[in-house]
């Protein structure tokens, strides 16, 4: 029987057609466009049927947040405003999501840290908010340069965490992200991260879906918890207030709820595999040497592989797309032949290498590095150098064209 409630095929007030997301992302024609990452965020949002976007300026996401303001002025977003701080913005996003809206925001670096208390609240309340994190330094002395340390803090919030490599990933994953996080068996917020500046402020050719197609709207009544709009009768949740942990039932409720959040993260796995075509991408998994990376370190890894190939050294690659859910099985499988695993990262602590070490057998195979931090770029030669030094392949490798 035809679903008469479906809006697919109908038009919104801007004349865009609500389109089946799978068709829009996989079958609709794509137009190559030369855009910065920030502009790509705007273009994704134009097609996202977003109800509320809340903004606060922090480099390097300010431009994207401002561009989405233009979309609001054009009538593509239901409401948009600047909050008073990141803590407030994330709370405002929560309020809007509690009220049944599809919500979007962006932040970076210190803003992510200031807002931190909200993130476990978002996941605990099952709010499928999408937040773009355009990573930058979070530490003192002040830095606005890209650095992925803040991702480490997001990993245990109960949010889905994805790490985009390119502006193309960004465009596709913003739209697909809503599809995963709004699934009733998931219904969790998504932190969609990228390495600030490298992705946001560089121009690239990105294949865009037609501007006159948009996502079907969010249906808040598919949520596993009640939408706070008084459209369904409220219930007395419990006789004793939830903070009374001396009450065993109340305690058990809390404990099992945390487990449920993480179970929901796990349940997002199948949806993420479906939409992202797997949680990882791989190349040359039969090689002895593997590079495992996420974000733009993947691009640098690819370039390093090319340089090594020129010298007759064969090397494989794992691109980790989702950090939560964590692709444990996939990484084990992809690295099973590797004798040496290198994990280049744009941060000082090497959180990705730690995750990988905790995942695979014989983790002494993992070489945590190279690390560039404080916002440095990562010339592929640094990766090549690290690999050659570690494996004793060095003769007299010179970092071409990069004098000290």
């Amino acid at each position: 029987m035809a679903d008469t409630r479906s809006v697919i095929g109908t038009q919104n007030k801007k004349g865009q057609t609500f389109t089946d997301t799978w068709k829009m992302m996989n079958e609709a024609p794509r137009t190559p466009s030369f855009f910065t990452g920030s502009e790509v965020i705007k273009e994704a949002l134009r097609r996202a049927s977003c109800d509320v976007m809340i903004a606060y300026p922090i480099t390097p996401q300010s431009e994207a947040a401002a561009l989405i303001g233009e979309l609001f002025a054009e009538g593509y977003i239901g409401d948009y405003f600047r909050g008073e701080s990141e803590f407030a913005v994330m709370s405002q996003c929560a309020g809007a999501a509690f009220g049944g809206a599809r919500v979007f925001t962006t932040t970076a670096g210190p803003g992510t840290m200031r807002a931190m208390e909200n993130f476990p609240m978002w996941s605990g309340a099952r709010l499928p908010i999408q937040m773009i994190v355009t990573c930058r330094g979070i530490n003192s002395p002040l830095s606005i340069q890209p650095d992925t340390l803040e991702i480490a803090y997001l990993l245990n919030t109960g949010m889905l965490v994805w790490h985009a490599e390119t502006a193309q990933d960004f465009f596709d994953w913003i739209l697909k992200g809503y599809m995963v996080s709004e699934e009733p068996d998931v219904h969790l917020p998504l932190a969609l991260c990228c390495d600030g500046f490298f992705v946001t402020h560089t121009k690239d050719v990105v294949n865009l879906t037609p501007a006159d197609m948009c996502l079907p709207p969010y249906d808040p009544y598919r949520s596993p918890v009640p939408c706070m709009d008084m459209e369904c009768p409220p219930v007395r949740m419990m006789r004793d207030p939830f903070v009374m942990k001396s009450n065993y039932i109340s305690y058990a409720t809390h404990a099992s709820w945390q487990q449920e959040i993480w179970a929901a993260v796990e349940r997002s796995r199948k949806h993420s595999i479906h939409w992202l075509d797997g949680l990882i991408d791989t190349e040359n998994t039969d090689a002895d040497i593997m590079i495992v990376a996420s974000g733009t370190a993947v691009s640098q890894g690819r370039e390093a592989i090319r340089l090594l190939e020129e010298e007759g050294v064969r090397c494989g690659l794992v691109k980790v797309k989702t950090l939560r859910p964590w692709p444990e099985e996939e990484i084990r499988e992809a690295t099973k032949n590797a004798k040496h695993i290198f994990v280049p990262e744009f941060n000082v602590t090497g959180w990705l290498a730690k995750e990988i070490k905790a995942t695979i057998p014989n983790h002494e195979r993992v070489h945590a590095g190279p690390h560039v931090c404080g916002g440095m770029t990562m010339p592929p030669e640094i990766i090549v150098n690290e690999i050659k030094t570690t494996l004793g392949l060095h003769k007299s490798f010179v970092m071409a064209g990069r004098g000290s």
Binding site: D79, E84, F87, G95, A101, V103, M237, R239, M244
Partner: protein, 302 residues
């Protein structure tokens, strides 16, 4: 929502929990003249609570819930503190998120409800303690007013942090010796009602909750004005009898003592010009409605 939506199928009525049966039979939803006198007659007002025996917050809660003009479409936002202990027992949607962010949550919520229900009235009411409103959350309290967000903010002013055991708060009186104020509080009680007025609130009241009819009036005014015009603020003295060393019967007297004309909770009200106009219009409509009802009743008995 409307009362229609909570009607149980007749065939299933007798197997539903009695709470639901009572809610369907005797709720005050959909009743224009609901008020504090309905307390004790209907199920969606609080029956039990987990506050200390005799805590004035529990009285205030009942009066407020009984006075909401449109409970079937009202969402309340709370904050961590003694206020959060009662919410599991109330029959309006309630959001408890974090400590101090209640006005930010309410801003997002009100906007989402306006986007989703452009042709319907959905009221949002914030209710939080003085620590949440005036200390940790002050930035978000004020900014919601600056932005003219259309919801009511209620502060249960018990002049200290009750839930964490009686620490100094911004609304505590100067000189009061409290935990974390070992030599007495060093600065004056923050003048939030005045700040609220200067920050753009259209209706501001500072009072105790000793008189239910007064609470009913100010709640109705605050919600109506917030709905039509802009932010409103109520600061209600709900003394923490536990922390100031009173027994459960002494809360009412404590409020009566502190609302005397020279005391800090003497009734103070500010109404902006547009709000005055709205209240006059509402009063006129109410009069008309009551007169019509009277006439109808007269015809019926004639």
């Amino acid at each position: 929502m409307s009362k229609e939506k909570i009607k149980i199928s007749e065939d299933l009525f007798d197997i539903m929990p009695s709470d639901y049966q009572d809610l369907v039979k005797s709720s005050t939803y959909g009743k224009e003249d609901r008020g504090w006198k309905d307390i004790g007659t209907s199920k969606e007002l609080i029956e039990q609570h987990s506050l200390c025996a005799g805590c004035p917050e529990s009285m205030a809660f009942r009066y407020i819930l009984a006075s909401l003009p449109n409970p079937e479409d009202t969402v309340m936002v709370g904050s961590t503190g003694c206020t959060s202990l009662v919410f599991p027992m109330v029959a309006v949607h309630n959001i408890h998120s974090l400590f101090g962010n209640q006005n930010a949550i309410a801003s997002g919520l009100k906007r989402a409800l306006s986007v989703r229900f452009p042709d319907r009235t959905k009221d949002v009411v914030v209710l939080a303690g003085d620590g949440a409103t005036v200390d940790i959350g002050l930035d978000m309290t004020l900014q919601a007013w600056f932005r003219q967000e259309k919801f009511t903010t209620i502060c249960f002013d018990n002049e200290l942090y009750a839930n964490t055991g009686g620490q100094e708060s911004g609304l505590m009186q100067k000189g009061f010796v409290a935990k974390m104020a070992p030599v007495g509080k060093l600065f004056e009680k923050v003048r939030l009602p005045e700040i609220a007025r200067e920050s753009g609130c259209h209706y501001v009241v500072n009072c105790t909750v000793s008189k239910p009819s007064l609470v009913e009036k100010v709640i109705r005014n605050a919600v109506h004005i917030a709905r039509e015009i802009g932010p409103t603020y109520l600061q209600l003295y709900t003394p923490c009898i536990l922390e100031i060393g009173k027994n459960s019967m002494e809360g009412l007297q404590e409020m009566r003592d502190s609302e005397k004309p020279t005391e800090r909770f003497a009734y103070k009200e500010y109404v902006s010009e547009p709000a005055k106009q709205l209240l006059a219009e509402l009063a006129a409509k109410d009069k008309e409605r009551k007169a019509a009802a009277k006439q109808l009743a007269g015809q019926a008995t004639a």
